[in-house]
Amino acid sequence: MSRQVLKAESAAEIQMNASRRVIERRDAENWTDEDQEKLDAWLNESSAHAIAYWRANHAWGRTYRIAALKRPAAENPLPKREDRRSAAAFKIALAVCAFAVAGWTASMLFAGPKFTNYTTPVGGHRVLVLSNGSKIELNTDSVLRLSDGAAVLDRGEAYFEIKHDPAHPFVVSAGGRKIVDIGTKFLVRNGADHLEVALFEGRVLLGAPDGSTTAPSKLTAGDVAIATANSTSIVKLSLRALTNEVSWRQGVLIFHRTSLADAAAEFNRYNSRKLIVADADAARLKIDGKFRTNDVASFTEVAEDVLRLRIERQGNQTVMSR
């Protein structure tokens, strides 16, 4: 009759028990007072019993009603379960900008300005302030080459706050694409197999792959473009989600329904001790949370406590498994 009793008896057990009692009650050919007393006693034992009984009783009544409706004709086959993730992915608007500028790509090609190299180590974070007041923040493990009015992100991730000069738009090259600012704050991440451009303010033009004649895409605030060698897709993110993307500027990682695998991969960008998620079930666990980029220890502790994972240190790796 107390919570302890409820805990000991799982909801599934209660529901199975309730189903049995509904069948007994509904099918009884001669339902006696004694039967009713026994049923009442069980129902009065806890609210959970009563509620499970209501639920099962309702379901049984419904099968009956529906069965009554059912015609012998074969039903249409069930529609395939919708893959929500892909549905969301397909919502992506392939926003191809209206002003296709012939020769645009060519005009943006830089012939021989002098570049200065800036790099950050794993876990590093570096802020560059340009003479015109523009600012570039380099995230972990990144390589950026900078010249007057242009930057090449060879590796990693950088956040740009560019003071716009209409006469000399700032151009960022990364992953075989060019990004031309039209007065803006934006993030560029040069990943292993794709380029990500996120727009915080203003507008940029994201060029098609170098050498292609396709028109550039125009990105506005909130757009996140994922560009691969031969495709560009753009999603709109909320300000909050967008802010999470650059939480590294404050030295934190913010996870929101992030899979453990993705979270581990994020940590691995910032730390030389690598996290390995050893089994697929664990990798799919979703987590929320906020951690310092360099605080792998807290993360693994939480994983151990909350997700009940086994944490093993092996050499320069930390292996997480069920």
Binding site: A52, A59, I66, G289
Partner: protein
Amino acid sequence: MKDDSNHERGRNGPLRQTLVSAADVEAWFLREVLPLEASLMGYFKRNWRNESDARDLVQEVYVHACEAAQQDLPRTARPFVFTIARNLLIDRFRNLAVVPLETVGDVETLTTPSDQPGPDRNVIARDELRRLQAALDKLAPRCREAVLLRQLEGLSRREVAARMGISEETVKEYLATGLFLLSDIFFGQSAGEDCA
């Protein structure tokens, strides 16, 4: 220990009649709360570490909701129920003494208007029919046969037993198992979801 708290009694004990009759709470629960089961299951599966706990968590929400409803039926069920769900998660997280977990659950669910027009009745019926068909297909053959004979052909349990050549007790077990699974498919899964 002296039992002087109605609140505690209501919490831990059976549904006691207070201001709202048990029949009204039942009707309210079936009409307003039970249709939210699929959303609740999804909510807990997404936001709690262990998907297999979802059923227990949903049950706990039902108990809280119905016990509170005994005092006064909430005007809008959805925000009421999801607030309970959210608080339950917060409690659970707190008990784990975890480092700051930033968010507990998706707040969007709370704000979805509860008074949006429901789908057309015929659509509901068609949808239910399809789900029932799918649900029946998932039952073990003998179990399905028992359910169909009982519910579709309207045979008594004894007649079903005679037709199938099994005991009435076994028929009861088949029907109960069938009902258990069918309930989950009716309430616990969103439309289009596979009933595994």
